[in-house]
């Protein structure tokens, strides 16, 4: 006998995240490292488990190897279950044909059988692009109370920002009457967070109808939501007023990392009742050598620090050489900063080696806002080389250039 699951989650993890440039050259965006020891996908996965959702389908498509290996059997998130747990759902061949996931809605459509297996009443649809802590169960209660077909989590943004988001126009009861994608003249400041709860029987019906329409782009925002609105379904906006950050760009990824540092950090990850889980690299504690100095910095196990680090995020296994200076930067897993090198206002990818006395970026104070230097995974910056601020490095840089 199968146990019915009241609510399961579908996590859309197939996005390329092209705005993150070299960071997503070889990994899908949800697998991009974040905050010293996490990947972006740790946040929605941990939220699921902490909300009591123990069945999560992760839909992958773009560069899935790293993501698949990272998720594994789901054990770090307590998602290795006898029934349910985490399942990786790549596109597959059915019958004589097969399709890539054509759009977000099509990705769910292709996995109707997976969802039907658990016979859920509700399905949470998530994306793997955001940093936030949220109790989906509270949202589900709201969805049930309002008897909605679909509930969309929204965040109040400023009117200026509103034109960058999908905006929900609602009545006084938070019932959505209109959805506008990046409106030039926003009528509301309720921005969609990309978190949907659907009553499964309704969604199932709309997915099948959408698939039958050859004109459709098979996208939730463009097709499914407008279609449901048009048919008079009850769509509710669920207001969320805590920290939520889209880390889709280099600038916002840098900001979100920096926001973890301060005393007044807007997101408290050290919360025993809402832990963010991640796969542990199993390394020794970090070592701070004589002569090193650290200030307003977060550091993870395995790092070795001999230089001067200010206002930065150091991932596991990175090495900061003697006399090196790191400021306002994110140094990812196993990156090596050579002796005497200066790294400022930069994101240094996993496994990058920066030679001695090289200069990467420039002091944040003199840089144009957002001109963050970014060095892609496993590249080498030669001894004494210079990387200008705001440059995205995608190939090795020889010494002294």
């Amino acid at each position: 006998m199968k146990i019915k699951k009241e609510c399961i989650a579908m996590l859309l993890a197939g996005g390329q995240g092209s705005r993150l440039g070299v960071l997503t050259k070889e990994v899908a965006k949800p697998a991009v490292p974040f905050g010293g020891k996490y990947r972006i996908i740790d946040f929605p996965l941990s939220n699921c488990v902490n909300s009591g959702i123990d069945t999560v389908g992760v839909l992958t498509q773009y560069m899935p190897l790293d993501l698949n290996a990272y998720i594994g059997n789901g054990q770090p998130w307590d998602l290795d279950r006898n029934y349910g747990g985490v399942s990786i759902l790549p596109p597959y061949v059915h019958g004589k044909t097969g399709d890539w996931y054509k759009g977000t809605a099509n990705a769910i459509y292709q996995n109707i059988h997976y969802i039907d297996n658990y016979d859920p009443d509700y399905v949470v649809v998530l994306s793997g692009d955001h940093i936030y802590k949220m109790d989906y169960n509270k949202m589900l209660q709201y969805h049930k109370q309002t008897d909605a077909a679909c509930t969309i989590a929204v965040l109040n943004v400023t009117l200026e920002e509103a034109s960058r988001f999908g905006i929900m126009n609602t009545d006084e009861n938070n019932r959505i009457y209109e959805f506008e994608e990046k409106p030039k003249q926003p009528k509301s400041t309720k921005a969609s967070m990309g978190i949907y709860i659907f009553t499964w029987s309704k969604l199932r019906q709309y997915l099948i109808a959408d698939e039958a329409d050859p004109q459709s782009e098979n996208d939730f925002g463009k097709n499914i939501i407008p279609e449901m609105l048009g048919n008079g379904e009850v769509l509710m906006a669920y207001e969320f007023d805590d920290y939520w950050k889209d880390v889709g760009t280099v600038q916002s990824l840098w900001e979100a990392n920096m926001e973890l540092i301060g005393v007044d950090s807007p997101i408290n990850l050290n919360d025993p009742s809402w832990r963010i889980y991640s796969r542990s690299p199993n390394v020794q504690p970090h070592y701070v050598a004589p002569g090193a100095s650290l200030s307003e910095t977060i550091v993870t196990e395995g790092a070795i620090i001999a230089g001067k680090v200010e206002h930065s995020v150091l991932f596991s296994g990175c090495k900061i050489g003697k006399g090196a200076i790191v400021r306002d930067s994110v140094i990812m897993t196993n990156a090596v900063i050579g002796e005497g090198a200066v790294v400022e206002y930069s994101i240094v990818g996993q496994g990058v080696v920066i030679g001695a006395n090289a200069t990467v970026g420039a002091p944040k104070e003199i840089c144009k806002p957002g001109s963050i230097a970014l060095i892609g995974e496993n590249l080498t910056v030669g001894e004494g080389a210079t990387v200008e601020p705001g440059i995205m490095v995608s190939e090795n840089i020889p010494a002294g250039r």
Binding site: Q284, H286, L294, T297, V299
Partner: protein, 374 residues
Amino acid sequence: MKNTLGIVFTYKYEEDLKTLTQLRSISSIPFGGRYRIVDFMLSSMVNSGVTKIGMITQNNYSSLMDHLGSGKEWDLSRKRDGLYIQPPFSSANSISLGANYRGRMEALANTMSFIRRSTEEYVLMTDADVICNMTFDDMLDYHIAKEADITLLYKEGSFSNESYNQFCFLATDEDGKVTDVTINPAKNRNKLCVGTLIIRKSLLESLVQECQSHNLYSFRRDVLQANLKDLKVYGYKCDEYFEPITSISSYYDTNMSLLDEKVREQLFGGDYSIYTKIRDEVPTVYRNTSEVSNSLIADGCVIEGKVENCIIFRGVHIHKNTVVSNSIIMQDTEIQSGCQINYVISDKDVVIRQNRKLFGYQKYPTVLPKSSVV
């Protein structure tokens, strides 16, 4: 080493570690910022390919069981083989005195059903109170090549220190064959038998039976010393980092040796990891008032004060204007502002209130018991 069964003795000379073993066995004493002592031997065995390991416990083993759980962190939670915790066992016809094993052979007698059921040909038997990261494959090859009955791992050096008084010492001929086994001898203390050995399982079974029927219980006295003439006992020299924890002082020194890059390289720099229970801590935060030098610091800490020559475990908070030096601060300890701490071993969950001054001495570090408030 597929064909080898692991047996780990998780208890030992615990009286020498007093405060640290009040509430736990030696194997579950926190070590090196994020580990327990047992992690090193357990990981070494797993890295050698030993996939079936019996853990023999005696007293106060709840902390150890809590740490090991199902064994999944060591990849020992499996359908076939895995981790087998062997709690003390007594029955009507057992000669043991419940939880107080008089010696190794008695402990093994109580574990006999587990050993007999195992199909492995060899047994790797070891203490859990060692800091090492090695594999035992070469030792097994040596054991087989020498057609030995028992192969004992030993360390060469000078061990006149009294913290080795509980140990066996070996004398060997040029072929490596053991010619004498002495316990705490006055001289010839240069081949230290570290409590790790390989033996054929069938031989172990018959030796246990033999001891049991004669009411003998000591492995060293009643097996090694009594049968040295009849058995082919060989010594295998260990050239890797391999430090038994014997006393508060050796616990302190071994922890501090991790501040040496060469030691860290030997223990953590190779291909094999040391596994431990995952705590899912956040990264450690350094505030702008922090001043840190020559220290090993785990995740989840908040460092606002001055730290030098220290081992800091997970979740420790060191406040402003506080100086902590030459100390081992275990998980979730809080040291408030204005303190001066030198040569202190603080067990878990200790709170040191404002402006306290605590000083130990290198050979006699001050030990603060678990959950104490200073």
